[in-house]
């Protein structure tokens, strides 16, 4: 029998038994669709957590005052006052430090802010212009703290969107308005773009003022709460950590790294922890996906086997009327291939659509991994074909009358 005849016979057999065809296809669609949706959900979560962390600033190193070694509480090493503005300027200009691109000296503290009748307790961050670069901060309206603001010790403030909402109401334009911090009047000169986050670490609930103003006028200190550094490239993170570490040790007249009165954290450390967490999550989801693939596979297998009695009789009849074994196997194989491929393609489309809808609903990234598509498709197609082919093979080995009488 010609291939075209076999294909047309397969198609008419599939359209004749719409319920059987529909159920088998449904099994394949669900199997493939759910795996694709689950895996892309996992990957979207992982990607959005990484991108959230990267939005804190890429290639970021943070120098904190005080020892990282909790046991060493002697002399200045336990103190919180060991980093100064001069340390920051020195790092920037030191010829032996080649891996650092930008330096951002910072002093931050929570304090009460008042405007008219409203007030809020928020984080005030004394910053220099480099802050926005190092922390990838974007300005929605107005401008960030400028160099002349720092030099002139201006009483200007840049607000996070949460602060704007708390003090002026949602969507208000606070530019040119004044706020009072610690009894002093500041003019609002800019608003930052939202970075997301909530609760204590809310990156939108921050007020930025010039570092000089913060140190001298608001808090009366001459030290820093941290120095943020941006390495030139991701590969130079460790180099930068070492260069800055030894430079500061020398500047602070310390010879033993164990006595360091500061510590340096890398963004990478946080990223590593976070990606370890998210990869656990992805493994978990992959497990769920594997189970749903298994369930889908069993569904496909089931419907293929459930209809087998009727099909064995059909095979007996076809053989009785002169069909050769290879013709029967070819027809059933063709049916299984048509079934699983059409079901597979619908499953892929549905899986991708589901991932898209989930990403829209949750605001996460829309990622579809080709690997998950191929895996889900391959597994379902193999199951569909094997369980379409195997009973047909068994039945075509029977005497026609045995197959016709099968119950």
């Amino acid at each position: 029998m010609e291939l075209s005849e076999i294909i047309s016979e397969s198609f008419s057999s599939l359209t004749l038994n719409k319920l059987r065809t529909g159920l088998a296809m449904l099994g394949i669609v669900i199997g493939i669709g759910s795996v694709i949706a689950l895996i892309s959900l996992g990957q979207a979560t992982q990607a959005s957590i990484s991108s959230r962390i990267e939005s804190l600033g890429s290639n970021l190193l943070t120098v904190n005052p005080g020892s990282s070694n909790q046991g060493a509480v002697r002399g200045a090493s336990g103190s919180r006052t060991t980093l100064t503005l001069e340390d920051a300027s020195a790092i920037l200009v030191a010829p032996e430090i080649t891996s650092v691109k930008t330096v951002s000296p910072e002093f931050s503290r929570r304090i009460q802010i008042v405007t008219g009748s409203k007030n809020t307790n928020t984080q005030v961050v004394g910053s220099s212009p480099s802050y926005s670069e190092v922390h990838k901060l974007e300005i929605a309206t107005g401008n960030f703290v400028t160099q002349s603001d720092v030099e002139g010790m201006s009483k200007v403030a840049v607000l996070g969107p949460q602060v704007v909402t708390d003090l002026f109401g949602e969507g208000a334009d606070p530019l040119g308005q004044t706020i009072r911090i610690s009894g002093k009047t500041f003019t609002v000169v800019g608003v930052t773009v939202s970075k997301g986050g909530s609760g204590f670490g809310n990156l939108d609930d921050i007020v930025y003022v010039p570092i000089s103003t913060a140190q001298k006028q608001l808090f009366g200190v001459n030290y820093l709460s941290s120095i943020a550094l941006e390495a030139k490239t991701a590969d130079l993170m460790t180099t930068a950590q070492n260069e800055v570490g030894y430079f500061l040790l020398a500047r602070h007249k310390l010879s033993d790294p164990a006595e360091a009165d500061f510590s340096i954290f890398s963004q990478q450390d946080i990223l590593n922890t976070a990606s370890a967490t998210t990869s656990t999550f992805t493994t978990l989801l992959s497990g769920v996906a594997a189970i749903s693939l298994l369930v889908g596979g069993i569904g496909i297998m089931n419907i293929m086997l459930v209809t087998v009695t009727e099909r064995i009789r059909e095979i007996g009849l076809r053989k009785a009327l002169g069909a050769k074994k290879k013709t029967i196997i070819a027809q059933f194989l063709t049916e299984a291939i048509i079934l699983t491929f059409i079901g597979g393609i619908i499953g892929i489309i549905l899986g991708i659509l589901t991932s898209y809808v989930i990403s829209k609903l949750t605001g996460s990234l829309f990622v579809v991994s080709p690997g998950s598509v191929i895996l889900a498709f391959a597994v379902s197609v193999v199951i569909g074909i094997v369980f379409g082919w195997y009973p047909a093979k068994k039945a075509s080995d029977l005497q026609p009358i045995e197959a016709l009488r099968y119950e």
């Binding site: 029998m1 008419s12 004749l16 038994n17 009849l317 009327l321 002169g322 005497q399 009358i401 016709l404």
Partner: protein, 238 residues
């Protein structure tokens, strides 16, 4: 005309189950010559269908020899046997065995599909035979939309469609009203006159009387084998 197309020697068929054995055919020997019209009669369970299935190449005997048109069936390959079932034998099943939910036209076309006859030709032939059995107006009815008698006639049209040398019919008129049964017998006699060999199972003496030879079976054995000359008289009686 006188060469045997079917030679059966010491043919037995035993069905074995866990608890007991059923001897469906017990050491049967007979010959059928080309162009014969043979009726097989006998009580239910006497092994008629079992014999017919073996003659049609649908089942294998437990022992004995079956020579079909000079070939020992046992020695034939699976594919050769499929070709014989397709081309040489037209089988009318007691239970019709049509493809469910499929049109009568497609059912009749099916053996021709396996014979490699082109689609248009298949359709024309199928239509011709369906008209012949009185179903010219039921071509696109599916098998569940027609009566048992009509299904049986579709099965007959299907058996005739490839113009096979041998027609094997297991109670072909079992579900058909007697007037129509006579029509079917006319068709059988017609093709028999053209040289086709016909073997037909029936339990109705009226129907058997159309045959030229009648074999009677009982308990898996042939108990009677006679030439029949009463045909004309029966026809006049009805």
């Amino acid at each position: 005309m006188n060469t045997p197309i079917i030679i059966v020697e010491h043919l037995s068929k035993v069905y074995k189950s866990d608890l007991f054995e059923t001897v469906a055919l017990a050491d049967i020997s007979f010959e059928v010559k080309k162009g014969e019209f043979l009726a097989i009669m006998g009580p239910s369970g006497s092994g008629k269908s079992t014999l017919m299935h073996i003659l049609g190449g649908l089942d294998q005997p437990s022992s004995g020899k079956y020579i079909l048109d000079g070939k020992n069936v046992e020695s034939l390959s699976d594919d050769d046997l499929a070709d014989i079932r397709n081309r040489k034998i037209g089988f009318v099943f007691q239970a019709f065995n049509l493809l469910p939910r499929t049109t009568t036209l497609k059912n009749v076309m099916l053996p021709m599909t396996y014979a490699g006859i082109p689609r248009e030709k298949r359709e024309a032939i199928a239509q011709k035979y369906l008209e012949m059995v009185g179903l010219g107006d039921r071509l696109s009815h599916t098998t569940n939309q027609i009566s048992g008698g009509q299904q049986q006639r579709v099965a007959i049209a299907r058996a005739l469609s490839l113009d096979p040398a041998i027609i094997l019919a297991d109670e072909p008129t079992g579900n058909i009203a007697s007037a129509q049964a006579e029509e079917i017998m006319e068709i059988f006699k017609d093709i028999n006159e053209k040289g086709h060999t016909i073997i037909m199972i029936t339990h109705e003496p009226d129907i058997a009387s159309h045959a030229k030879r009648i074999i009677t079976m009982k308990d898996g054995k042939i108990v009677n084998d006679v030439q029949n000359n009463k045909e004309i008289r029966y026809q006049h009686k009805h």
